[in-house]
């Protein structure tokens, strides 16, 4: 979505262009934004790179979680950029833990709160316990702590911010790095374009623990993300949220593109938005037509050396996995996907609230 030319004064033309854009954005997201609190629980002044997609995601998640939370945060970019002594970006109780034990510490917090409640030392109000970690801290080194916490059934939410490599230490591959992506430890050369293995599927792994809730989310789809965080908080027992987090330096993209890339990852089917609730799959962003993966891959430096054959392999696999997911989702009836239409935004006249605000502003007739 390129900016309109600044000098461009033709209102009617702008109205049309904007309508297209608003539709493309989906009104539902505008709605989500209106419901988010203006309070910042992840304060500015943090040292994340300019345009960090993970920082956008964390900010949105924290806005949804509100203040009645206790966070356990594994080391990784978000921990390092938010807490250089003696400053902190956190405005909620937040514990920096080691690389591998976010889930274990969250388990301890949850058990501790339970004990305090039983002894009458704190009242019965709900305090959400949240563990957060990167893809390295989740899919690699933190996997057994996570598995343990899920299996023991602690009432907590685990959020994995997946930027698809170990970014804090300078872009080393993780098991969540996608096939074909170049990192410093899966470098592109004359034969290989990068990572030789397929991305580990954390959703399947966590869901296999029969937890009540697991979902994927992306900062490019705020409404969907907000809904899933809320569900994760409310559901009793362990919940897992896997959030895609574009990283400009690690992915070789320019800073302004990180949200756009997250959106493309969803629209190409590379990162489908779905949830698994009580074993039932549901796609929360369904589309009839997937955008070709090439449009997503070509925009990123880390896929620069991808050959047309590899691109085709990726396309094939994405198509197949999308299809499988769709079939699984169709099995579970009675769920209503979150789309713009399902949100009570559209007035009977068919004009959305955002469109209306804009039309009135631009002085155009209805």
């Amino acid at each position: 979505m390129k900016s309109l030319e600044p000098g461009d004064k033709n209102k009617q033309q702008i109205v049309t262009k904007c309508k297209e854009r608003i539709n493309a954005m989906s009104d539902a997201n505008v709605y989500a934004v209106k419901t988010m609190t203006s309070k910042e629980y992840f304060a500015p002044g943090h040292r994340a790179c300019s345009g960090c997609g993970q920082a956008v995601a964390v900010r949105m998640v924290q806005k949804t979680l509100g203040r009645n939370v206790v966070m356990a945060s594994a080391t990784g970019c978000m921990e390092v950029v938010s807490s250089p002594f003696p400053q902190s970006s956190w405005q909620v109780p937040w514990i920096h833990v080691a690389f591998e034990n976010a889930a274990a510490v969250a388990s301890g917090i949850e058990a501790g709160l339970k004990a305090l409640r039983r002894k009458g030392k704190i009242d019965g109000r709900k305090i959400t316990v949240v563990a957060m970690a990167g893809d390295g801290g989740t899919a690699d080194i933190g996997l057994q702590a996570l598995s343990g916490a899920l299996e023991r059934g602690h009432d907590f939410l685990y959020v994995c911010y997946d930027n698809e490599a170990y970014m804090n230490t300078g872009v080393q591959r993780s098991s969540a790095t996608p096939f074909g992506a170049a990192t410093t430890t899966s470098p592109a050369g004359s034969v290989n374009s990068g990572q030789l293995t397929w991305k580990k599927n954390m959703m399947r792994i966590t869901a296999a623990h029969d937890i009540p809730y697991a979902a994927t989310a992306s900062p490019s789809h705020p409404l969907d993300l907000v809904n899933k965080v809320k569900k994760g908080m409310e559901i009793e027992g362990p919940a897992y949220l896997h959030v895609l987090s574009p990283c400009p330096p690690g992915w070789g993209i320019s800073a302004e593109n990180s949200i756009q890339l997250a959106r493309l990852a969803v629209e190409t089917g590379i990162f489908p938005l779905y949830e698994i609730e009580e074993g039932k799959h549901r796609m929360t962003m369904s589309t009839d037509k997937l955008v070709p993966v090439e449009q997503y891959l070509k925009k990123q430096g880390r896929f620069r050396r991808l050959s047309p054959e590899m691109m085709e392999m990726i396309q094939e696999r994405v198509r197949k996995e999308w299809q499988e997911l769709k079939e699984k989702s169709d099995l579970s009836h009675g769920h209503r996907p979150i789309t713009a239409e399902n949100f009570l935004l559209r007035s009977p006249e068919g004009e959305s609230e955002a469109e209306k605000i804009f039309r009135v502003k631009a002085g155009a007739p209805a």
Binding site: A55, M60, S254, A255, E256
Partner: protein, 302 residues
């Protein structure tokens, strides 16, 4: 031993400057060691790099706290970092500025070299990477190494067209650098950034005071002030600034939602305005604004 400290921003090449200078010195048969200082900061954040040159082997591997020479690659750093911290008496300062150079002179400084490095870099390299430009200014101020050795270091480091352009930039800086000697009158004027959100509540203590804490002075389990990173003004990382055209804005708030740095702030009239203290100039808001109400403009140099 000569100790030189470079101050730049992530991506501007401060580390490369220190390394090139060391390489040139080594080529001349001297001993040198160069290394950067790493912090949690990312792209655009202030960084420093160190270079030591001597006639005997350099074994010291610590950061340089009392340099003989300080080189400042970015004019905005004067407001962000205490660049002359620990500078030796009768030391030297090399700066990138388009301002009148004498206002940067201060007591105790022996000589000052000033060059409009951003302009030279923009014109020759087409991007504000000022490292080789400031090396040109540095050796104009004091012939630490010969121009030829530095050029040869640049040619070893870079190749082809990039090498040539960097050599051009270095040579032009050498020509255009102004060197001032102290006559004991002027004082250093630090420019304060224009802050439209001035008077905003401070969350923690002033950052500088805080940094003087020792961990032993803190009570066990102590927590630093929540949200005190607000004292860290990341606005000075920015090289582009989002400009909002009100007449296009539908107040949807997407710019606010997608900003990684909470730098879009809604005013009572419903419109959004950019908090210059924190906006890193990433451009996400301009990209995501559904009505194209935001465009990015090059940040004017202080």
């Amino acid at each position: 031993m000569l100790e030189i400290r470079f101050h730049g921003r992530g991506g501007q090449g401060a580390v490369t400057s220190a390394e090139l200078l060391a390489q040139a010195a080594i080529e001349e048969g001297k001993y040198a060691r160069a290394f950067p200082s790493f912090g949690p900061e990312r792209r655009g954040a202030p960084v420093s790099a160190f270079c030591r040159i001597d006639d005997k082997p350099v074994t010291l591997r610590t950061s340089i706290d009392s340099p003989d020479v300080v080189v400042v690659l970015d004019p905005s750093l004067f407001n962000a970092v205490d660049v002359t911290r620990g500078l030796k008496k009768d030391g030297f300062l090399v700066i990138n500025t388009k301002k009148e150079s004498k206002q940067f002179m201060f007591e105790g400084l022996k000589q000052l070299a000033a060059v409009n490095a951003t302009q030279i870099a923009q014109e020759i390299l087409n991007r504000p990477i000022t490292n080789t430009v400031l090396l040109g200014a540095l050796i104009r101020l004091m012939p630490i190494v010969k121009v030829d050795s530095l050029i040869s270091a640049v040619q070893t480091r870079f190749s082809g067209k990039i090498a040539n352009l960097n050599v051009q930039a270095l040579e032009r800086a050498y020509q255009e650098t102004q060197v001032l000697s102290n006559n004991g009158e002027q004082t250093l004027e630090l420019v304060s950034p224009k802050n439209e959100f001035a008077g905003k509540e401070k969350v923690g203590k002033a950052a500088k005071e805080d940094l003087d804490y020792l961990w032993t002075e803190l009570s066990p389990g102590c927590v630093v002030q929540p949200g005190s990173s607000r004292d860290n003004h990341t606005g000075d990382w920015r090289s582009c600034l989002p400009v909002i055209q009100k007449e296009r804005c539908i107040q949807c708030g997407l710019c606010w939602a997608f900003c990684p740095d909470a730098a879009q702030v809604q005013k009572p009239d419903g419109y959004f305005s950019v908090d210059l203290d924190y906006c890193k100039g990433c451009g996400i808001c301009a990209m995501e604004c559904p009505t194209g109400a935001i465009h990015m403009e090059k940040e004017l140099e202080l």
